[in-house]
């Protein structure tokens, strides 16, 4: 077996009907006429002109400035005569003007030629042949996603994406006329009810926070009817070696084991730096093993997502922390999403980490991975359940797997009915994003498409969607 056989054998022949059909279409295409190749002729003309001008300038500079138009044309002849006959200065008429070298600049035109070179009779050199290969328009399209000037409000669709979903939104909306802003999850619904149809306040909101009655608009508001759509899930899997079996972990255990700050067991309404080093300290029913979890770098987009998914569910089991939500939502997010910075959580490179080898030699370790990668590891690893639930499409759909969350899209019926742009943007955001954010190159790690979710493909279908029942 050659080293790269596994890559070579993935090639396959295109379908024969595709090849023949494409060839037939190509043969029917009108062929562009070949460009006229007059480069040599043009070059010859330019060469003569340059030589002629140089000769005239040189000859006149040596024979003196012309005192009349007639002298202008006879100066080159005089120069040639002098060269051929060998006449020197001493034979010149004493009354003639002393010959001086004249700066060439005196012969240059004093006006600026504003006409293109071709109009002046001097053609450009042939263009680079690669200009026939079309250039990418990617750069211009990517800029359309950035916040634009006030003038863009009238045409660009205002979209708000939760800050940690911003890469998804960018990937989905690239090339579309939108004004995309990132906001903390506590602020995503701000402005949803405000303004007219052309207001800068958001027409579309992408968030993992489910809308509640607290965000509803007043009964008289034109945006009171809100539709809710599901984009997909973000989920992580905790992998463990088959040799050592699963740990009976709850979401609360994970939070206590991996959060940077945890409730003080003596005073639960106070937070302390995480003191736990073994699993049995977190839960006496767990073994006396070191806490050791491999995962993506904490400050990377993948690491921040892992932090949110590993910790949020367990954080919400502490009443004191939930009460923080009312007092200081920002602090709650920090507390419930920040991973500890000691060796209990060990950063790995997602590119090249050998999950089976690392976990087989570490009996107490777990490793963070995704549902896309795990199937290729399951011959040697298991997916550790959390709260007795294993990650799969069914448990994601039921929202029973703690280390996952749903991504929602919200838009008002009013905006859907009054703007094609809103409908088109919604359809783009409901499409599966590419594996990689084309703007940043970062992978959209952890995303799982919501199988069976509603995906309207026409404006009528969007208009027919049921709205969220707020119970006015």
């Amino acid at each position: 077996m050659n080293d790269d056989d596994f890559l070579n054998r993935l090639r396959k022949a295109p379908p024969p009907e595709f090849l023949t059909g494409l060839k037939a279409r190509l043969d029917r295409q009108p062929r562009m006429p070949p460009e006229r190749r007059s480069g040599f002729g043009r070059g010859l003309i330019v060469g003569f002109l340059v030589a002629g001008v140089s000769f005239a300038a040189t000859s006149v500079s040596l024979t003196g400035l012309p005192t009349s138009p007639g002298r202008f044309f006879t100066a080159p002849v005089e120069f040639l005569t002098r060269v051929v006959t060998g006449r020197n200065d001493s034979e010149r008429d004493a009354s003639s003007v002393q010959i001086k070298a004249v700066p060439l600049g005196s012969w240059l035109p004093t006006h600026i030629n504003t006409q293109p070179a071709s109009a002046a009779g001097v053609d450009r050199m042939p263009a680079d042949a690669m200009s026939s290969a079309p250039q990418s328009t990617a750069g211009a399209d990517a800029r359309a996603v950035s916040p634009g000037p006030a003038a863009a409000y009238s045409t660009a669709i205002p979209v708000v994406a939760q800050r940690d979903l911003y890469p998804f939104a960018v990937a989905s909306l690239s090339g579309r006329s939108v004004r995309l802003r990132a906001k903390d999850s506590k602020d995503v619904f701000d402005g949803m009810c405000a303004g007219a149809a052309t207001s800068p306040d958001p027409n579309i909101i992408e968030t993992t926070r489910r809308i509640t009655a607290d965000q509803r608009c007043s009964r008289e508001n034109h945006r009171r009817e809100i539709v809710e759509l599901q984009v997909g899930y973000q989920a992580i899997v905790l992998a463990r070696s088959k040799l050592y079996g699963p740990l009976n972990l709850s979401a609360r255990d994970l939070y206590l084991a991996l959060a940077k700050r945890v409730p003080n067991p003596e005073q639960p309404d106070q937070l302390i730096d995480n003191p736990y080093t073994t699993w049995n300290q977190v839960d006496p029913a767990l073994p006396y093993d070191n806490i050791h979890v491999y995962g993506p770098a904490r400050n990377s987009p993948e690491g921040k997502l892992a932090g949110a998914l590993l910790l949020n569910a367990g954080c919400n089991t502490f009443p004191a922390l939930v009460a923080l939500r009312d007092r200081d939502p920002a602090m709650l997010e920090t507390t419930c999403q920040q991973l500890r910075t000691d060796k209990a959580y060990e950063e790995i490179s997602l590119n090249g980490f050998n999950y089976p080898d690392a976990l087989n030699i570490a009996p107490t370790a777990l490793a963070v991975t995704t549902l896309a990668i795990f199937p290729y590891l399951q011959d040697r690893l298991i997916a550790n359940p959390i709260d007795g639930v294993v990650a799969d499409t069914a448990t994601l759909a039921a929202q029973s797997y703690p280390a996952s969350r749903l991504i929602y899209l919200y838009a008002s019926k009013f905006d859907i009915e009054s703007s094609f742009g809103v409908v088109n943007a919604l359809m783009a955001m409901l499409s599966p994003p590419p594996a990689t954010d084309p703007r940043t190159g970062a992978s959209l790690w952890g995303f799982v498409e919501a199988a069976g979710a509603e995906r309207p493909t026409t404006r009528k279908a969007f208009e027919a969607l049921e709205t969220v029942q707020f119970g006015y």
Partner: protein, 186 residues
Amino acid sequence: MIVQNTVPDRSMDALSTEELDWDALYADLAPRVFNYFRYRLGRETDVEDLTARTFEKAWRARANYRRDLAGFSTWLFKIAQNVGADYVNTWRSHLPLEAAAEVTTEDTPARHAELRSDLARLAALTATLPARERELIALKYGASLNNRLIAELTGLSESNVGTLLHRLVKTLRTQWYGSDVSVRDE
């Protein structure tokens, strides 16, 4: 018509524009462009469309192709790279990844399913790689280009291409097979 992947024929590149056999070029390059997009996207959906777009752009302009400036393969794959970049940035498929229906008289359904799943597996493994590395894999193993042509297309030196590919293959092989396969240094 059954088309097999072939090694690039240098003698074809040495011919002048007027002498090029366009039918033979199509037969040689169409499968390679097709597989370049399969490897680059990591799926079957949209591959035929992108292959068609690449050839439509190139075919109309082939009369203006300047043989003295670049080999035809390089020129065609530059077009393919631009088509791919435009697709990634401006065009979205509304179909799920597994929606493409494949009909082939050569593959059994089991072989066909295996190919698709392995391609998805490769896509999952390369998803975390930088775009440059994914491009190298697609050009080398999808398009079957040699390192010299890859260097022209990517702007890297030929030796750099070789080194990068060697490291990439080593890493991917470890991830593909786990540690059961012994690694043979080249």
